[in-house]
């Protein structure tokens, strides 16, 4: 498959999109993904054969691809049984955990940043103004969401709003508590 979506071609496609042309944007994303995922799906297929002669080389390459390898390992696991299936899932988990570590490290770094964020651009009049939050507040909320991913959406929304409505000192106290204990109040 020849890659017709070079960086120049992507820029050209983007420049021809109108701002709200979501169908066009979705088509561009699909065209990009179709080509970009070819090697990943090929690895996914290859890993389904535990006795494939070049398997160890494939595993070496996949280790270097980091989070891109999660889906090939997961895809392969569905076709395997017994120990090879568990090994595939363990490898997917290892890569997931590695990505998790990077994401959390980045978000923890953002907890130091106090810059206020511009309020969301809502057209027309609004009844209740959206509270202004800082970068550190949003990072804290994201960390909390990752820490409690199974919380009901309504509870998460309610928590976000009540946190955002707190004064800066109170929000700082919550953030400090997390930094000191690794726990969320």
């Amino acid at each position: 498959m020849e890659n017709l979506l070079t960086p120049e071609a992507i820029r050209e496609r983007l420049s021809s999109l109108r701002e709200m042309d979501f169908a066009g944007a979705e088509k561009l994303a699909m065209d990009i993904a179709k080509y970009a995922r070819v090697p990943l799906w090929a690895f996914g297929r290859l890993l389904q054969w535990p006795g494939y002669p070049d398997r160890s080389k494939a595993e070496f390459v996949l280790k270097l691809l980091g989070e891109l390898s999660i889906l090939p390992w997961l895809a392969a696991s569905t076709k395997l049984g017994g120990e090879p299936r568990i090994q595939s899932l363990s490898e997917a988990f290892r890569l997931y955990q590695e990505l998790d570590r990077r994401v959390i490290e980045k978000l923890r770094g953002m907890l130091k940043e106090q810059t206020p964020l511009p309020p969301p651009d809502v057209p027309g009049p609004i009844e209740v103004p959206v509270p202004v939050t800082r970068e550190c507040d949003e990072a804290y909320l994201l960390l909390r969401h990752l820490h409690r991913p199974d919380e009901a959406e309504a509870d998460d929304r309610r928590n976000r709003l009540s946190f955002a409505r707190l004064g800066e000192d109170d929000r700082d106290r919550f953030i400090r508590h997390y930094l000191d204990t690794g726990e969320f109040q």
């Binding site: 990009i32 070819v38 988990f93 949003e138």
Partner: protein
């Protein structure tokens, strides 16, 4: 790069040719990540009217855009950094859900894995359960019903079955993957 190209390249490289394998990984990395990098560059540096389509395309590229979004966070304005991290976190939770979905049926698979715990062979369900427990922490009200990894490995088979059954019926698990029945 087609599937055949990839298989051929892998076949031609010797197992001891680490540099060759690294080069192949780099090429694949470019194929997978370069488009997202191009989109992000346009998002950050392009005209304002391009921001919405770029954000939309990036969110649809999912795992292909994660590494590039993480990279870009160092050099963008705070509001965009937050937006990128929200997209990264969303994808991370998608990975989590996919893993749990893949592990769920294995919690009832009693096939031996060939690996050994303290009290005998670990079965697929035991290994899957240990992975699930690394991904999901039980709710505070249920935490005391479940053992740690080492404790679980030391249990007799019948006790491990009990614990897995308890897990499958727990509110923690049912909130994540409700029983379709």
């Amino acid at each position: 790069m087609t599937e055949q190209d990839l298989f051929l390249r892998l076949h031609e490289l010797s197992e001891s040719d680490a540099d060759g394998l690294r080069k192949l990984a780099e090429e694949i990395g470019v194929i997978c990540r370069e488009p997202a990098s191009t989109i992000l560059t346009e998002w950050v540096g392009g005209p304002p009217g391009r921001q919405i389509p770029c954000a939309f395309v990036c969110s649809h590229l999912k795992e292909l855009a994660v590494a590039e979004m993480l990279l870009q966070t160092d050099s963008v304005a705070p509001a965009l950094r937050v937006q990128l991290m929200e997209m990264v976190a969303t994808q991370q939770l998608v990975f989590r859900e996919l893993m749990l979905t893949a592990l769920e049926p294995l919690l009832r698979d009693f096939t031996p894995t060939g690996t050994t715990g303290l009290t005998g062979d670990l079965r697929t369900c035991d290994a899957a359960y240990l992975l699930v427990r690394r991904i999901v922490r039980p709710s505070a009200s249920e935490a005391d019903q479940f053992s740690s990894e080492d404790q679980f490995k030391a249990l007799e088979e019948i006790q491990r079955d009990d614990e897995i059954n308890r897990w499958l019926l727990s509110e923690t698990w049912k909130e994540i993957l409700p029983d379709p029945a």
